[in-house]
């Protein structure tokens, strides 16, 4: 066998094949997560169907261990590594995003524990797919090459398609999975067509090389405009930007609620990481294409998302549209990316800050919704009436998260919005100012529907006389504890999050 291959090898690689040098310390979070995945698969194979309790714990420990190794990478000063010819970069930005993905992955595992354990939901496979998807996100944070971005996107999306359809005998879950799958693959296919054109135009797939090749000339050729738009639109779908948001509400409503939390937070953050890599490294020199596109996407996304959220009666659907609107806020700094005379890293940091705070408050809100639904068995807003009387703790938690999402101090949300404003005003362009005005108007609209939920919980009497308190399982309590602490701390002491975010920079590094 080897003898037959040898002449071919000698032809393609004279002097023998040399593997690329790999820094395994910088790679350790991914390695640990992959090992966890393998262990979970093995444990799943060798346990009986009714005895899958250990898998949840194992998955959680593996994710935390991987998070520990993110710390090890920083401590051992391996946080400026460029591997595989610049295609895979481990820098502060990548590490912060990896920590975010792992933490939100852990919280999702926590809020899944009882939901998946109590329903007949194929526990073993569920956690395998969650781990695989988180692994894809870790790769996405480091990917600085079209091929690795594509692989990371598929690794994180394909498990998510299956997770959305997890309750496979439930027609709504089928619909959720089918819609997510069809829209997802279609967007990926269009994105790939754009990538193939980019490769044809530049002869390379490394983002830095692409930027160098397309930045020349005052007027971009039409084919380049098409390629950039196709690629960015592919990720516009992932972050549910209007007009590519149509899958989001249906998928969020139909999918199991912990999966919805995963899609709304981790998957969306991964989309933003890819968008940031592309816009700030790959297309930075072509602000004339990116800025108008992102301006339109951002303005449309926040306005349409908020206006439709106003008339939702299902709380998960409301969060879906609120998530669409929040994506619009996060797209805003991309609309001023690459303005001359400003440091693009200000925009990068504002999005990183927003993502960190958004993850905490949104995951927390979903945790409370899941806990309340254990009693009410419903996700309608009206079903939450009287929650302050029978579950004051949960109701206060949800109030904190909703206040934070609305951007009202002292909770984290205000600082997230503040950093977006900062980025928009630093750019000092008409596009930036108009988006800032739109953002203010939208925040007011959003506050209205967030506060409506609080009003229903506080002032409307409960439908039934059953005032027994809601029993909250310990895993959900831990999840809510983590998210409440992060949401409150980031609002009261924003220095914590700005400290992390200020070390993130994309421009000027990346091999």
């Amino acid at each position: 066998m080897l003898a037959a291959v040898a002449p071919i090898l000698a032809q393609i690689a004279p002097g023998g094949f040399q593997g690329p040098p790999v820094n395994w310390v910088a790679f350790s979070p991914e390695v640990v997560l992959t090992a966890t995945l393998v262990v979970v698969v093995l444990v799943d194979v060798f346990t009986e169907r009714y005895d899958k309790g250990a898998i949840n714990t194992l998955a959680g420990i593996g994710v935390l261990l991987s998070l520990l190794f993110v710390g090890v990478v920083v401590v051992t000063a391996n946080n400026s590594e460029s591997m595989f010819g610049g295609a895979y970069v481990v820098d502060n930005f990548a590490l912060i995003m990896k920590a975010l993905f792992l933490l939100s992955g852990y919280v999702v595992i926590l809020i899944s524990t009882n939901y998946i354990g109590e329903g007949d939901y194929w526990e073993g496979e569920y956690y395998q797919l969650i781990l695989a998807s988180v692994l894809g996100m870790l790769v996405m944070a480091s990917a600085r090459d079209l091929i690795s971005i594509f692989i990371a996107l598929e690794l994180l999306s394909i498990p998510a398609y299956m997770l959305a359809a997890w309750r496979k005998r439930d027609l709504k879950s089928d619909e959720a999975g089918m819609k997510y799958y069809l829209m997802g693959v279609f967007a990926t296919a269009v994105m790939l067509y754009g990538m193939s054109l980019l490769y044809g135009l530049t002869g390379d797939t490394l983002l830095t090389k692409i930027n160098a090749a397309i930045s020349t000339g005052t007027k971009p050729p039409a084919i380049l405009i098409l390629a950039v738009i196709f690629v960015l639109v592919g990720f516009g779908f992932k972050v549910s930007a209007v007009p590519f948001h149509t899958w989001a509400p249906d998928t969020y409503e139909g999918a199991p609620t912990p999966v919805t939390a995963f899609l709304a937070v981790a998957s969306k953050a991964a989309g933003f990481v890819a968008l940031m890599n592309l816009v700030f490294i790959g297309f930075l020199g072509r602000a004339d294409i990116v800025q108008p596109l992102m301006w339109a996407l951002s303005a449309l996304t926040m306005t349409v998302g908020n206006l439709i959220a106003l008339r939702q009666t299902n709380v998960v659907r409301m969060f879906a549209y609120s998530g669409v609107a929040q994506a619009g806020y996060m797209l805003a700094p991309l609309a001023v990316a690459g303005s001359s005379g400003t440091d693009p890293n200000v925009a990068v940091r504002s999005i990183v800050t927003y993502l960190l705070i958004y993850a905490a408050m949104n995951l927390g809100a979903f945790a409370v919704v899941i806990a309340l639904a254990r009693k009410t068995r419903s996700a309608e807003i009206t079903s939450m009436s009287g929650a302050f009387h029978y579950a004051p703790g949960l109701a206060w938690c949800l109030t904190i998260f909703l206040t934070s999402l609305a951007g009202i101090p002292p909770f984290g949300g205000w600082f997230a919005k503040f950093s977006i404003f900062q980025a928009l005003f630093t750019a000092a362009t008409p596009a930036g100012y108009t988006l800032a005005v739109l953002l203010v108007v939208n925040s007011v609209i959003a506050a209205f529907y967030y506060m409506r939920v609080v009003r229903v919980m506080a002032f409307e009497p409960a439908d039934d006389v059953d005032m027994t308190p809601v029993k909250v399982p310990s895993s959900l309590l831990v999840a809510m504890g983590i998210t409440v602490v992060v949401t409150v701390l980031t609002g009261v002491v924003p220095a914590i999050v700005s400290q992390f975010a200020s070390s993130a920079s994309l421009v000027g590094f990346g091999g």
């Binding site: 594509f150 496979k168 089928d174 619909e175 990538m195 490769y199 249906d250 409503e253």
Partner: protein, 111 residues
């Protein structure tokens, strides 16, 4: 080397695929249309690879412009297989629950 013909073929395939995704109601045919788009991407990548090979001959250096295209195409083919595997599973699930693979009837949630 002239690659117009290949690019035109890819563009036509891409358009047929997009039309198929938007207009077809049969789940399996939608999957086939997506495959058409992915294959148009592959044609593009391989054609551009050959074109770059004619522009900048590779020599002994690793990772030159001409090799990236075919390698990218291999990745696309592999991942497309995985993607369609999941897609067919979803269509099968749809058939079991709805006794049909018409994707237009899977539309109970609105608003």
């Amino acid at each position: 080397m002239l690659i117009n013909a290949y690019l035109l073929l890819a563009a036509v395939l891409f358009c047929i695929g997009v039309y198929g995704v938007l207009a077809r109601r049969n789940g399996v045919l939608v999957l086939m249309s997506i495959e058409l788009i992915l294959n148009s991407v592959n044609i593009n990548l391989v054609a551009f690879g050959a074109w770059w090979g004619a522009q900048q001959p590779c020599g002994a250096a690793q990772g030159c412009a001409a090799t990236i295209g075919p390698v990218f195409a291999l990745f696309v083919i592999t991942v497309a297989a995985a993607e369609v595997g999941v897609g067919l599973a979803l269509v099968l699930m749809l058939y079991r629950n709805f006794k049909s693979i018409d994707i237009d009837q899977v539309d109970s949630m609105k608003g």
